[in-house]
Amino acid sequence: MDYEAVIGLEIHVQLNNATKMFCDCPNRPGDEPNQNTCPICLWIPGAMPRFSQVVLEKATMAGLALNCEIQKENAFDQKVYYYPDLPKGFQLSQSHLPLAKNGWLDITDENGQPKRIRIHQVHMEEDVAKLVHETEGHTPISLVDFNRAGTPLVEIVSEPDIRTPHEAMEYIRSLRTQIRYVDSAECSMESGTMRVDANISIRPKNSDRMNTKVEVKNMNSIHNVGNAIAYEITRQANQLQKGEAVVLHTRLWNPDKHVTEAMRGKFEGPCVPDPSVPRIIVTDEWLNTLKARLPEMPGGKAERFFKDYGLSRDEAVLMSSERNLSEYFEAVVNQDIPPRFAVHWIATQLLPALKERNQNVEDTPVTTERFSQLLSMLERDEINANSAKEVLAQLFDSTETPGAVIEKGGLRQVSNTSEIEVIVDQIITENRSAVDDFHNGKTKAMGFLVGRAMQASQGKANPRLIKEMLSAKLGNNT
């Protein structure tokens, strides 16, 4: 039988607020254990939560970026469970009155067709402490690090609209892009600022039944989410084919073995309204000031890049995928660099170079001014592409202008025909067999000869001129 999967994602995103959610401790879980703590986030008796206004703003911006309706009234509940990472016995979360509802994200499915994934709700909750398991001599011990306790999260719950691993990964990427645009969170699965849980069930194709679902956790990359979902779909299909029922439970993705494994169920009950965090009333006035702060979002920006700059669809999407990158790109274009030429050099040269050096467009010494100067010299044929790559590499280590780097390295392109003619004549004399090959119809020999000539010019000659001159001197090879 043909099955299709019904997938809903629950995504926890750690907001990039400077402080925790209910106290002024720094929101830096990675610091020395238990450094960022106070009576509130340690939940010492008598302390009371003090909800951060900035967290509310960051969370609301995330809700807006996900096309949600921000609710007029939202409130916190106590979600009860007992575990040493939550020593007060309940987590402050929003169950009855969430921050935002009814959002959506548009993705592209496997067939290149647009598809809308609906978002059920976005709500705020505090993170719990982190357990560290060690041994003291031969005794296993568990330590609790409260740096993460009380750090601000939003949980984004999708509707079960996702059908394939591809759609799940596209949805996560789109969600990450949107939230990064409004600067609410980093959304990195690798560094733990985004955690994805997948609810997966399968059913016969074209059915509209909702079958028993299985929750899968512990994926540490977007790629792994795809792998885990694919594995789980096959596992459930095999189980059904064997006549076994799927039972409601939670499984963990094992990244080493590439399988999902059953875990013990967690005890969880309905939430109780919390009387210590004030109810949040969202006024139109406040919401409008936030909406006014929304930047041009990636969808609209890609459309504009496509229309105004003549980029291809893919190029437009790539250049708008990150807000800083899109701003870098536009700054370069605004310095009179042809847009597609800029995209080509950003995508194939600049981005890999940044990645190699662990830099970002916003903090690299290769500023938009320096990069534009380089591209404009390349465009005017003052240097060739090889030299440009070399200059780019040097721009990372010096503060000089591209022009100065070029002069210093003698990298200016030789476009003087008499100088090139000397080289071309020498190459023809020294490579008789290649010239014969060329005359015998081996077109590849031309490439070889151009290469030798470039080498002889120490990379400085204009390759277009060399080719033209070689062709003229050797005549037509047919």
Binding site: L42, P45, G46, Q78, V80, Y82, P87, F90, P275, P278
Partner: protein
Amino acid sequence: MNPDNYCYIDHSPTETGENGTLKGKLLSIQPNISVRGWPTEAGSVALEGFRALEDATVTERLREAGAKITGSTRMSELGFGLTGDTTPLAISDGDVDIALMTDTMGETRLAASIAGAFGFKPSYGLVSRYGLIGLVPSMECYGIMAKKPEDIGSVMGVIAGCDNHDLSMPEYQVPDFGHRGKIREPKVVIGTVRECMDTLDTDERKAFNETLSQIRKMGLKIRECNLTDFDLFKTVHNIIGSVEASSSGGKYDGVRYGHRARSTENWNEMYLKSRAESFGLLIKTYLFQGAYFQFENYSAFEDACRIRARLIKKTEALFNEVDLIVLPTRRRGINAADTSTIEEVYDAFSLTLPANVTGLPAIHIPGSVFREENDPGLQLIGPRLGDANLISVAAALSHTTLGGK
């Protein structure tokens, strides 16, 4: 000071205020109200050895106003009921002028009725709860007991008002506690609640009617009001209170402070054993009951929340007809200081807990014209934020008619 009545005594209490309104006043607290460094066990083994890390906002403000905090009296476990509570003795022995305690279901008013003093519970949200180690966050608040009503007014003048540590306090105009002891509006209309009167037995009604006639003699008008579902206050408090206790009481886990069970197999067992060894039977029963409603009968909890909202509306609507509501404070033949089951606790506090369910201010007024055992007491409930007027009326009543001071 009889040391048996105290779990901590400060022999050289310090105050930080020079010329505060509470200059020279002696004040006791309970060990669920935070004073930095003091043992703060809230009457429970679950907090054994715990010392407060910070001052509660109230203790800080009281000291700044010149009050001397002389010690903390013994209290019931986590402030639920009055069993084992020695606060009435601190007042009746004359150890202190003012006793600060918590009021979850009427403990301050009942304790005052035992001590022959005034017992006041402010409007919910008027006094910061920061530093209160509580059990039922939506019902409980600080309560003030004193022989002199003007002391209650002075304390309220000091502790009421916004606090950056307790953001759950709504924004409002803090009542002016400056004109104490006088009825500012001479034509106060006081309402009795028919549904409450119906629950009194013959002796209770006789005694209470006697009190009402004394009030009438003062020239105050008394009018009968209707508050249907009055009997549901008790059920609503019981269900919501136990669910909140079970949920928020989770922080008393016996790991970072308090009693932690020895030799357990794993951490699940550690929690179970520590909590089993820590809580007394009454609290344990209450927590179990709350867990039952939360996990097995949640719709009953939701119903209780809905009924609570309705009761608040209905009670507040009464203040369109009358200025204050009058109720007895306690039931005859039930000793609030000696209760051992949930039912007994709720029976003992059935007349005071409506003010906790609604969050309205309420005061017990001591009277000396009746024999103690027959006296159901006199309790006034005011509109939200009508705290200052309520204290003034209570003072006036006791001064002129009831033979108080």
